[in-house]
């Protein structure tokens, strides 16, 4: 029996980006779950914890940041690696990485997304 596929949760408010990343990951042998905001992402995690999350941080109502904090503050989900995928400038990486309350993200990738880079990072972290 083949090993069970690793699951990646793709969180982005932009449907085209969700479709893009999910297809890319599925083509590379991963299973995917999608969420369009932080609240939906939290529901998906509660159903079944993924092996990795790609997260757009700039979504309506700051739900991306809220989701990130909840994940990193939870004993159960803290270890799930999160790759921040965002269009905001690199300063955000410094900002989120210097918050004392939460650990820095395991990965950080700017948009437009480099396909090889994201696949390499996913392979390393998941």
């Amino acid at each position: 029996m083949a090993a069970e596929k690793k699951t990646i949760l793709v969180v982005d408010d932009e449907p085209d980006v969700r479709t893009f990343l999910s297809t890319l990951f599925e083509d590379s042998g991963y299973a995917t779950v999608r969420a369009q905001d932080g609240n939906e992402a939290l529901s998906r995690v509660k159903e079944k914890a993924p092996d990795l999350v790609t997260l757009d941080i700039t979504m309506p109502n700051k739900s991306g940041v809220k989701f990130y904090r909840e994940m990193k503050e939870s004993a159960e989900w803290r270890k799930v690696p999160i790759i921040i995928v965002t269009g905001v400038s690199g300063e955000f990486k410094t900002f989120i990485s210097t918050r004392k309350q939460v650990p820095p993200p395991e990965g950080y990738l700017p948009k437009p997304i480099d396909r090889n880079e994201i696949l390499k990072l996913v392979k390393k972290l998941a």
Binding site: E14, D16, V17, T19, M59, G64, P110
Partner: protein, 477 residues
């Protein structure tokens, strides 16, 4: 007369005459004779002024009348025609009985003094003119910060309120400002400067750069402080425009990054679809490409509208066709998101005077905004956007209603603010700002009714004709 005294009389460095009651010159010194000729038998007014009769105000006459000394300033003319300004002093000469027999008149040449006086007056007037006409606001303030003098520019812009406190005039305040530069100059005697926002009599807010300098008395004490303010509002406006452009670039590049990711995704689906011979994937990918190109087009149009404030290109526009066109453009996108697009168009609404391209951009921005508000709403099973049009006698009313996420009060109040977006990574914060600008350029307005979690209704009212508007269509978006 004793000889030495007569010599003194002769050599006096001024004109000396002795006159009888009939104003005849009975004696005169050398200087008088040199400049006015021999006086004997002639009347004072003939000699001095070449007048046929006596002067109206005559100090000699006054001295005869009251026995007192008198003085007066006069203008006299010498034999060679020179005009000489003189200060005339008169004194009575008594006989042994005490009666006034004659009057001594001494006239000192004050021509040079008068010239200096005139120069001083002229130079004072010139400095006053400079003070009045210098193109900045100048006020002179006493230690109580009362305005004791002000130039024309100050009075024109802030009113002629001499004696009032500076802060009352400039800022409509009841108390002294914090870090008052005038107060600091009174304390340390040095020049200070500051940037302030002041309010003119017309109620305009002006950014000013102020400088203060002490005005000292002869003993060195500071009597007043001069405050000179330059209006730097245009510079500040330019600065704020530059900041806006910076914000625009950052906002647009952020938006473009998202759209490029969507395009990348579409291309990936098309390419891998071709490799796998997966028609469904090719179609899905191609739709993604089209959608993102359409959005890039929209963003570019908005940037153009923002970058170039333009006078509307007026023409008669058929409103029902315009609304139909906009709905047709957005319908595929709405369908893609599972949002129904309904039309409620009054087919007989007719034409209105407008810039067709601008009105189309306005409606696209609003309808897209409504579709997005539905798309991000996860709390309802299905959504619809209704685009309505009503033709009233004087105006055209467009209504765009959705049952999406709705707006809270803050979002509603800031909806038309430049660079304000509640759409996360997708919004540039330009769309509604530009829509509002276009409505204003058409002398219309956009109203928002919205309730969180219920939905939003935009009502755009545009006059049918620009003739009925105040500015006759001269306004800019």
């Amino acid at each position: 007369m004793d000889l030495p005294y007569h010599r003194y009389f002769e050599e006096m460095p001024c004109y000396v005459t002795v006159q009888d009651r009939g104003f005849r010159v009975v004696d005169a010194n050398r200087r008088f004779r040199e400049d006015f000729g021999k006086p004997e038998g002639r009347f004072c007014y003939q000699v001095y002024k070449r007048r046929p009769e006596r002067c109206e105000i005559c100090p000699v006459d006054q001295t005869f009348q009251d026995g007192q000394c008198h003085r007066n300033e006069e203008q006299v003319r010498t034999l060679d025609g020179r005009e000489v300004s003189v200060m005339v002093y008169t004194s009575p000469i008594h006989d042994d009985t005490g009666a006034i027999t004659s009057v001594l008149e001494i006239s000192a040449d004050i021509t040079e003094v008068k010239r200096l006086q005139r120069q001083l007056t002229e130079s004072q007037a010139r400095y006053r003119l400079l003070f009045e006409e210098v193109p900045c606001y100048i006020s002179i303030q006493d230690p109580e910060l009362r305005i004791v003098d002000a130039n024309r520019s100050f009075k024109e812009n802030f009113g002629d309120f001499l004696g009032c406190k500076c802060y009352e005039i400039y800022k409509h305040r009841d108390g002294e400002c914090v870090n008052c530069a005038v107060r600091q100059t009174f304390k340390d005697g040095r020049i200070h400067h500051n940037e302030e926002v002041v309010t003119s009599i017309k109620g305009e807010q002006l950014n000013t750069l102020i400088f203060t300098a002490p005005i000292r008395r002869a003993d060195g004490q500071i009597q007043y402080v001069m405050e000179m303010s330059t209006n730097i509002t245009p510079i500040r406006e330019l600065q704020s425009q530059l900041e806006s452009i910076g914000l625009l670039i950052s906002s647009v590049s952020h938006n473009i990054k998202g759209l490029l990711t969507g395009l990348d995704g579409g291309m990936y689906l098309v390419n891998t679809g071709l490799q796998k011979n997966n028609q469904q994937r090719i179609t899905q990918g191609w739709e993604m490409v089209q959608r993102n190109i359409e959005r890039i087009r929209g963003t570019v149009m908005n940037i153009l509208y923002y970058a170039k404030k333009r006078e509307p290109s007026w023409e008669a526009v058929a409103a029902p066709a315009l609304v139909e066109e906009v709905c047709g453009l957005i319908e595929p996108k709405a369908r893609g998101y599972g949002v129904a697009l309904r039309r409620d168009i009054d087919g007989g609404a007719g034409e209105f005077e407008a810039d067709a391209k601008a009105m189309r951009a306005l409606l696209i921005n609003l309808v897209e905004n409504s579709v997005d508000a539905c798309r991000v709403d996860t709390k309802k099973p299905s959504h619809a956007v209704t685009v309505g049009l009503k033709g009233l006698p004087d105006q055209m009313v467009f209504e765009i209603a959705d049952d999406g996420i709705g707006m809270d009060r803050r979002t509603r109040e800031k909806a038309f603010t430049l660079f304000f977006s509640s759409k996360g990574s997708e919004g540039t914060g330009l769309g509604l700002f530009i829509a509002n600008g276009i409505a204003q350029a058409h002398h219309g307005r956009i109203g928002i009714e919205s309730e969180l979690e219920k939905g939003t209704r935009f009502v755009v009212t545009i006059p049918r004709s620009r003739k009925g508007t105040d500015e006759g269509g001269k306004s800019e978006p």
